[in-house]
């Protein structure tokens, strides 16, 4: 089994499956916080997928996207949390 195959048949399925699990949590909620946490986790796993995919396709360029994801996704969380609190205050 080559590395590519290993990634394709073992690693990516596991990660993809995790995505599904997280997405189920997103669907189930029940609170908005749970959903936001789920989305946050999805993005983080997305970084992982990109890492694996860059290896699989031999394109290190994709890692730059992962870099941006890592930097920016955080801001979404900041915004959401600020929003939930703001709503509560009223």
């Amino acid at each position: 089994m080559t590395l590519e195959e290993y990634l394709y048949y073992i690693i990516l399925p596991i990660v993809s499956f995790s995505i599904l699990l997280v997405f189920i949590r997103f669907i189930k909620g029940p609170t908005i916080s749970d959903r936001i946490i789920a989305v946050d986790l999805l993005v983080t796993i997305g970084i992982g997928i990109i890492a694996v995919y860059s290896v699989q396709t031999n394109q290190s360029t994709f890692l730059d996207i992962a870099l941006i994801l890592a930097l920016i996704a955080f801001l979404g969380t900041v915004a959401y949390s600020s929003y939930i609190q703001k709503r509560k205050k009223k």
């Binding site: 290993y6 599904l20 699990l21 749970d34 986790l41 796993i45 890492a51 890592a70 949390s81």
Partner: protein, 131 residues
């Protein structure tokens, strides 16, 4: 040799990611979900990125991978902190088997004390416009 390292890193990473997935699904309250996922995912993704760094085996890629990992380490806990705090303020209940809550009453009197048990996914807030 290098492939083996990659395989090991990738496998471990994938497993930790999976762990985070199972964790977020199984854990009974928001805080516990967060507690599990923040780190499992961070570690898992870190390992996957490490695998990539090893695979490409050049300096600029490695530094970029390190940068990503640093960024995640920097931002993930801050994010978790913000969400945890926000959830608590909003009134997300702790799991019923929780043993203590030192934060109780620390936020404004109204918000936590008379917390309506977190309205599952209802619209937060009133219909009165703010301004």
């Amino acid at each position: 040799m290098i492939s083996i390292i990659i395989v090991v890193l990738a496998t471990l990473g994938a497993l930790f990611v999976l762990l985070a997935g199972i964790g977020i699904l199984r854990m009974p309250d928001t805080y516990l979900r967060m507690a599990v996922t923040t780190k499992a995912a961070t570690l898992g993704v870190g390992l996957l990125l490490g695998a990539a760094a090893v695979y490409f085996n050049d300096l600029s890629t490695t530094t970029r991978v390190l940068a990503i990992i640093v960024f995640i380490l920097l931002t993930a806990p801050v994010g978790a902190h913000l969400m945890g705090r926000a959830s608590y303020i909003v009134g997300n209940k702790l799991w019923e088997k929780s043993v203590m809550d030192d934060l109780e009453g620390k936020y404004s009197k109204s918000s936590v004390k008379d917390k309506k048990p977190a309205e599952p996914d209802s619209e937060e807030g009133s219909t009165i416009p703010e301004d």
